[in-house]
């Protein structure tokens, strides 16, 4: 089964009682989010990732042979954040380390790479760590992005005994959407800019199409999938996907109300929570899909042992 852990940033924000948000009830209808987590000055994607990974590794008696660090809010690009995380976790030197910088689609990318590395017997195991601190780029008064994004990390460990079966995978990239969700410089400050309507129309069109491609590649139908875990973007995005694909409520996982949109961490956190809630059963197919910034989209149908 899925071995994983997660770590939220320490500052929990109650959006209903936030002085910067007027008309919260109306906003909640679109976001579906009550609480977000914002990182403090001392918390970074590295410290959150380290914390999530150490919690998990405390219960694992194997040397980590490969590490994939998924973050789009890295503390360093030269050297790579993966190398810094490798050091913090005190991993062995003969270790494969890879950084994935794909935002909301990062985890399906990482899982696909990890499954193939292990399936080809290149390594015995893989630690996937996701960690994001988007809120560092978001002003507390930003009424579009502030009530959505949240800071958190996750860690998932897979080895030959727990290797998921990948029935199909699909990746889509459209760099024409790059300017619609990006970091801009405003008075020498880095700020997150999001054109909500454009990102929404991309998602509403491409996610259902990509889901059908994944199903077709795996020769499965909607009713064969036991659980759908889409990137927890916002409730308007999720309900549009659910309605368009006619996915029954009980098969459509959501957890963003008390967590927010944690970018690359939404899917692994949802996987860990769904697993604890016994919604992921052995050998039953699960569909995961991440999408957004880039534009980038990645998904796969997996069964977990």
């Amino acid at each position: 089964m899925i071995k994983g852990s997660y770590q939220f940033a320490s500052k929990k924000v109650d959006l209903a009682n936030n002085a910067n948000l007027k008309n919260y009830e109306e906003l909640f209808k679109k976001t579906g989010i009550k609480y977000i987590y914002r990182s403090t000055e001392n918390e970074t994607s590295l410290t959150l990732g380290e914390s999530a990974a150490k919690k998990l590794l405390a219960n694992i008696n194997e040397k980590v042979e490969s590490l994939i660090f998924v973050t789009q809010s890295p503390v360093s690009t030269i050297p790579s954040s993966g190398c810094l995380l490798h050091k913090k976790l005190n991993l062995q030197n003969d270790c494969f380390v890879l950084d994935v910088i794909q935002g909301c689609s990062g985890f399906p990318y990482a899982l696909s790479v990890a499954v193939n590395l292990l399936k080809n017997k290149q390594f015995k195991n893989c630690l996937i760590v996701t960690s994001e601190t988007y809120t560092k780029y978001i002003d507390e008064k930003d009424k579009v992005s502030m009530p959505l994004f949240s800071d958190a990390a996750s860690a998932i460990f897979i080895n030959q005994n727990s290797l998921p079966k990948m029935h199909s995978s699909y990746f889509l990239t459209d760099g024409n959407g790059a300017d619609n969700l990006c970091i801009i410089k405003d008075k020498n400050e880095k700020k997150l800019f999001m054109h909500g309507a454009k990102v929404f129309t991309f998602t509403a069109e491409k996610v259902p199409e990509a889901t059908n491609i994944l199903l077709e590649k795996a020769k499965l139908k909607i009713q064969d999938i036991k659980l759908f875990i889409f990137h927890q973007a916002s409730s308007v995005v999720l309900s549009t996907i659910k309605d368009r694909l006619k996915i029954p409520n009980e098969k459509f996982y959501t957890n963003l109300e008390n967590i927010g949109n944690t970018v690359s961490s939404t899917i692994p956190i949802a996987l860990i929570m769904a697993n604890k809630e016994k919604k992921i059963l052995s050998n039953e197919p699960i569909l995961i899909m991440g999408f957004g910034v880039g534009y980038s989209l990645a998904g796969g149908i997996f069964t977990f042992d």
Binding site: K30, G196, F200, T201
Partner: protein
């Protein structure tokens, strides 16, 4: 959909305490999203695929594009 219904939908999305003139009003990102959501409810699978609909920030342009797609009937 008729123009008066679209006006009602847009005014509801703007949800302003003060009276607004739809001929000159330019909406922000959140209102834009609300308008798209409401239109999507009435016309499932027909709105988000319209080329350029995510760029529109005023009533007249929205009206024009919806007429061109036969979603809005000219009164």
């Amino acid at each position: 959909m008729k123009e008066k219904d679209l006006k009602k939908l847009v005014s509801g999305a703007i949800n302003s305490d003060t009276s607004i003139d739809l001929k000159t009003y330019e909406w922000d990102s959140l209102i834009h999203l609300t308008i798209l959501m409401e239109l999507e409810k009435t016309f499932p699978n027909k709105i988000t695929s319209i080329n350029g609909i995510a760029d529109i920030n005023n009533f007249n342009e929205l009206k024009k594009i919806l007429i061109s797609k036969n979603i809005l009937i000219n009164d």
